[in-house]
Symmetry: C5
Amino acid sequence: MIKLSLGQADKAGLPPGTPIHIGEIKADSVQISALDYNEDQVDFRPRIEAMECRLLAARPETVTWVNIDGLHQVDILQKVGQCFQLHPLTLEDILNTNQRPKLDIYDDYIYLVLKMPGLNLETGGFWFEQVSFIVSGTQLITFQEKAGDTFDAVRNRIKDGRGRIRKMGTDYLLYVLVDSVVDHYFVMLEKVGEQIEEMEMELVEKPEPSTMRKINFLKREMIMMRKSVWPLREVISSLQRDGVPFIGDSIRFYLKDLYDHTIQVIETVEIYRDMISGMLDIYLSSISNRMNEVMKVLTIYAAIFVPLTLISGIYGMNFNTASSPFNMPELNWYFGYPSALGLMVLIGVIMLVIFKKKGWF
Amino acid sequence: MIKLSLGQADKAGLPPGTPIHIGEIKADSVQISALDYNEDQVDFRPRIEAMECRLLAARPETVTWVNIDGLHQVDILQKVGQCFQLHPLTLEDILNTNQRPKLDIYDDYIYLVLKMPGLNLETGGFWFEQVSFIVSGTQLITFQEKAGDTFDAVRNRIKDGRGRIRKMGTDYLLYVLVDSVVDHYFVMLEKVGEQIEEMEMELVEKPEPSTMRKINFLKREMIMMRKSVWPLREVISSLQRDGVPFIGDSIRFYLKDLYDHTIQVIETVEIYRDMISGMLDIYLSSISNRMNEVMKVLTIYAAIFVPLTLISGIYGMNFNTASSPFNMPELNWYFGYPSALGLMVLIGVIMLVIFKKKGWF
Amino acid sequence: MIKLSLGQADKAGLPPGTPIHIGEIKADSVQISALDYNEDQVDFRPRIEAMECRLLAARPETVTWVNIDGLHQVDILQKVGQCFQLHPLTLEDILNTNQRPKLDIYDDYIYLVLKMPGLNLETGGFWFEQVSFIVSGTQLITFQEKAGDTFDAVRNRIKDGRGRIRKMGTDYLLYVLVDSVVDHYFVMLEKVGEQIEEMEMELVEKPEPSTMRKINFLKREMIMMRKSVWPLREVISSLQRDGVPFIGDSIRFYLKDLYDHTIQVIETVEIYRDMISGMLDIYLSSISNRMNEVMKVLTIYAAIFVPLTLISGIYGMNFNTASSPFNMPELNWYFGYPSALGLMVLIGVIMLVIFKKKGWF
Amino acid sequence: MIKLSLGQADKAGLPPGTPIHIGEIKADSVQISALDYNEDQVDFRPRIEAMECRLLAARPETVTWVNIDGLHQVDILQKVGQCFQLHPLTLEDILNTNQRPKLDIYDDYIYLVLKMPGLNLETGGFWFEQVSFIVSGTQLITFQEKAGDTFDAVRNRIKDGRGRIRKMGTDYLLYVLVDSVVDHYFVMLEKVGEQIEEMEMELVEKPEPSTMRKINFLKREMIMMRKSVWPLREVISSLQRDGVPFIGDSIRFYLKDLYDHTIQVIETVEIYRDMISGMLDIYLSSISNRMNEVMKVLTIYAAIFVPLTLISGIYGMNFNTASSPFNMPELNWYFGYPSALGLMVLIGVIMLVIFKKKGWF
Amino acid sequence: MIKLSLGQADKAGLPPGTPIHIGEIKADSVQISALDYNEDQVDFRPRIEAMECRLLAARPETVTWVNIDGLHQVDILQKVGQCFQLHPLTLEDILNTNQRPKLDIYDDYIYLVLKMPGLNLETGGFWFEQVSFIVSGTQLITFQEKAGDTFDAVRNRIKDGRGRIRKMGTDYLLYVLVDSVVDHYFVMLEKVGEQIEEMEMELVEKPEPSTMRKINFLKREMIMMRKSVWPLREVISSLQRDGVPFIGDSIRFYLKDLYDHTIQVIETVEIYRDMISGMLDIYLSSISNRMNEVMKVLTIYAAIFVPLTLISGIYGMNFNTASSPFNMPELNWYFGYPSALGLMVLIGVIMLVIFKKKGWF
């Protein structure tokens, strides 16, 4: 069962801009790491205090990437917010994990929030982790709900100096990180694709009432997926538009490529939805078909045995054979009983032939 | 049952701009309260006469918030309307509680009308209360159908001077009030979410004909919800546009945030609609499945007992055993009866095995 | 049954602009009335000749409202057309009662055509009457298919000088008349609402095959309703746009209000459509449920009586008790018959308990 | 069965602009007629050679309408194309009768292609004939797949000098011809309307499996109709736009009127589609209802006769009345047999009453 | 079963712009051919090395068409990419065969990627081959997944100098090649059309559970088809827009024609989808109809034989005829037995007549 824990309702009555954490707590404690680099040097600090941010904030000659894992310790996040002079509404949005993917352009930074899908191993369904990005000229701050390894590959690439990443600015870093989020969608969709294929096998081989629930589960998963990728498309489309601050012209092609990938994710989600609704049709028609089969068995039984039973009933009648030569003379025939049995077999065979011809079995 | 009491029909034939109250009377009497504040001072009058409005209307140095509860005493509301120089059409719209959420921009003020959802404890369904806002440079007038506590939290915040509200103008006050209305939608949606979860339990455990009606009830609730949130989105979107008078640039981010919340409400409504239609599919397929079960029971019974009955019928025939050695010699066999019973048991067991293999039970 | 009598087909082959009457004849004869007014005076002539129009056409200092009831006497209408110098296509459109609501802007006037709904008392369905408006600076001409009382209220208001109508121009008059048409939609929708409620009662209490047809009838009514209100919305929206001649800026708010009403009509129609399709689902599921009930009754009967019949069949067999002690010794038992009956009752009770536990009744 | 003979496939591999005829051959030979007129004179030549076109092409003072019936003789059509200096792609499009309705603006002429519906008397379905128009300042060339009488009315009107047609240019002639095509759609839709009404009668009176196929046939007809009218709307809408060469401002109103007619055709098609899908619902529910009826008959039979059969079975048991006073003493009662029959009748009547009360018959 | 092998997932974690081959390997080795031509000369080299590209790249006076078959040897393709100075993202896109059709405009070239459909002879379904085009002023490079004969017709036309192709530039060559891809869609759709017709025959003659799966297969084929043609439309539409570099004004009409063909492909796909969903309805209703038939057979059997069995049961009762004149005197009647049989026949005939009248068989 997918919970749509809005949480939002708990905020009713509080003044806007109040920073409170909404959502599940997915990490033990808030962890802040910083990565400071340019083409010549790299400086990685895996664990810093919120207070140290202030120092990082003032280094124009390098790209500074601050990553925060865990969102539930509001006081620490408020300090981070002050450090980088975030608007109260931005902080509120970062903490509210029911955010819809969106792009907000502030005077000093742009704020981007996305959903990263993950697989819930227990239910086979998805969860979505919220990832927030604050991008300014020389800084990029990422907020994740829990420590994860999605961004590690990028971090290592920066440390190793592979690719062009060390030569580029925060906009390219943003692109690379968002690209790794979008790649995660492909990983998840591949899992869904496998589930759909399994389901189809099940549908063909042995559809059961539980199949219906599984189909509905998949359908709902796709609804949730859809809910998070459509606004993702909008966000990336907005990034592409002219005049977004801190996004350079040099990454235009990269953003277009990213946009194409998002469209591909959306199309796959839509195709899966179509497929799932096709499975529903197959399931429902298979129920009807099975009912037909059951009915046929019943009807064949009835059609064969009911006439035979009548015959046995007739010769079980107690008409007095002595009182009239017309009263059941068969009972006294020499081959009376075999004839009766023979008649029964004959009728049974005729019935079977008729139903066979009708193609009922 | 949800009543779509248009009421509008009663107005057919009346000249436009005639102020008449359309809708249920939800309050005993019209109550007017006024709250007058700026950064330094607060003056709250819980109960004033319509006539006193004139005095309030002429205080440019403070923000004046006049709240009217109850709409059915047309004469009092007309006085209020005259006080604040409202257009006849505005007054007509305020009194007509079947208004669609909308934003009207007049020369001297902007007029906003929204629907606030509430829970009907008897039916488990929603009612919608109409809330109107008149905003000008220093005044904000709110019209509610009945006294409620939704705006109390805001009122207290103003009195206590918490947050930034006392430093801001009528536009921020408008934002805060509309925000509290939107928060109410989240509260209601959480209730619907619970109902959907309960319904799904019911569907899995014991679907009944009444389930269908409950699903339809939920579906309809969502139709009504939808009817009030889609135009709400339009209204907030219009507020954000440039050039709306009395709406300052400083609350631009707040309105964007509000807009995002509305989108989230809409998305949740749409997802609930999808879920409800999924429940319908499950329900219908569960009826078919149960029919299948019933049919199987019937068929198994028939398939087992009908042949046995035939056997008993055969040995109940009255062929004269004396007239021929072929006539039912079994009747005189030493183990005739046990053999017949044994044959019956054998056939029954074979049938059971066949159906078991077919997976029918 | 709703007739979609296009009629248009009869015109195939005729040159465009040929004025012929298409549609049912709903009035006995064409009647022309004229109302001439300004703030100071009113002059009402209930019955004038087509020729007199020429005189009316030349009075710039008053608002002149000419109303024509009945469209089938083409020659009279041609005279009226000449009087007011109408374009041949306008006249053709006025006479063709299968017109789609639209707004045409000509150099000398604007032409508006709407559909006014009415209740067909025989079938319980709707009919739509076509109402055309020709508006120029000082004249407004209305064409109706038959004499009706919809516009009487407006006429009386003008005569009595109530409201602002006498102070305003033809644009306000147009607004008031269109408003009264839109109000008619609310009246009709209220009727539909009642029909929907009745239908739902019927659905809950006693759904029958005829219910399906009634639902379909309602559905179709809504299709027709929809066909006439969607273009109505377009028409009113076009009227609101800048630059429509003869429509003054002073009635901008009134037109916006009118537009809001039209949107409300449309929304109600759409909600009714959703409700009706929900009723269809309920109806179809109720058929399935009833089938389930019937099947259960049958199965319970079979499951109880078939085994009992077998028992009675067994003890009706004619094995020779004399030939062997194993042959049906029960027949000679002292309590043989009561035991057999007891066994039957026992089996019956056990079956009943099983089905009761299964929740089948 | 509707054939979607694309034909296009046969062209795969040929260079673009190759003029080959695609589609059925519907005429015996290509026939060219010419009509040359202005306000003062008319010159009609019912049969001319392709070569003569050159002469016609050079007469600026008259409107020249050349009509070609039959498209399969490619060489003749190529000569015509050369005469009027048509672009190779235009000629290719004229010859390919699977064209989608469209408007192409070339430097020297505009090219318009439409579909004209006709009734296939054998299948009761439609066929669509392709009609192409080439319009320049003083010439209009029409290409039809076969000789038909659709344009005869227009031709006669020109010859007789009725209406304004002789005073107007090629644009008005184009309008009149397209108008006559659109009128044909109304004629066809009226036929469909009749078929729908017949179908509804059939549905109410005696739905059969073949009904389903007929409904599907109608549905498909509407799909085809739709395919040809939606682009027709686009074409006429494009014609209305400013800046289309050879289309004068004086026929603006006529084109708007034509556009309105097309919208009406589209709306009728959409309404028919809705109606047809409503019929499908009725048909499916009527199948279910009939199944219910069949089931009820079966159940009533079973419920009445199965208990009676049990009773007869009981008194057919062979318990030895001699061995015990408890063994079937009824068999020796004076009124034993009548009592048993009476009991049967009683049970039967009770059952009938119960089912009657349940409303099963 | 259609595999949606995204493959994309394997790339998660890699830096953007990394050229890796994604998709099935469909060719043995990468083959490069070059065709160099202008109006006067043609030079075709069926097999060149990647290194030779450099020479070809520098010939402004001829049109150079380089075709690469096979995409899996990344090193060779990287060399080609360097030769023509392709952007890393372009190369990545060329190699990733899950690309969505798109048009990318770079400074030095335009990049176009399409899907070419083909028939999988084993499954009867489609596969889609990716075809990429790089177009600059004098060069056109095509990348195919495997050697195929689609472009051979074009190649021969160039060699033979047929048509205008030798006189035109790379833009016309692009048009001709894309046109041959679009023609392939028509070929495929014709195949689908045949499959639909076969299916309909099957539906009418003998619908089986497998029919449902075939319908679903077709439905899914259309989903895949749709997925590749909708973006194709966008691509060709973009090409038509002003300002696309390397696309001359002289091929504007050709592109419009191509666009029209694409629209026709899309419409056919949509119509096929509608048809397929209509087949689903027919199939489901045919299941219900057959169930009805089965039920009727059962009911007729029951209704005829059950009463007869009761009669035989009654005369099988053992009431003592000796103990009372009321006890089954029929048994001693002279015509007792024939009367009983006659009664049975009578009841059977009456039943048959009743069901005949009801139209059950």
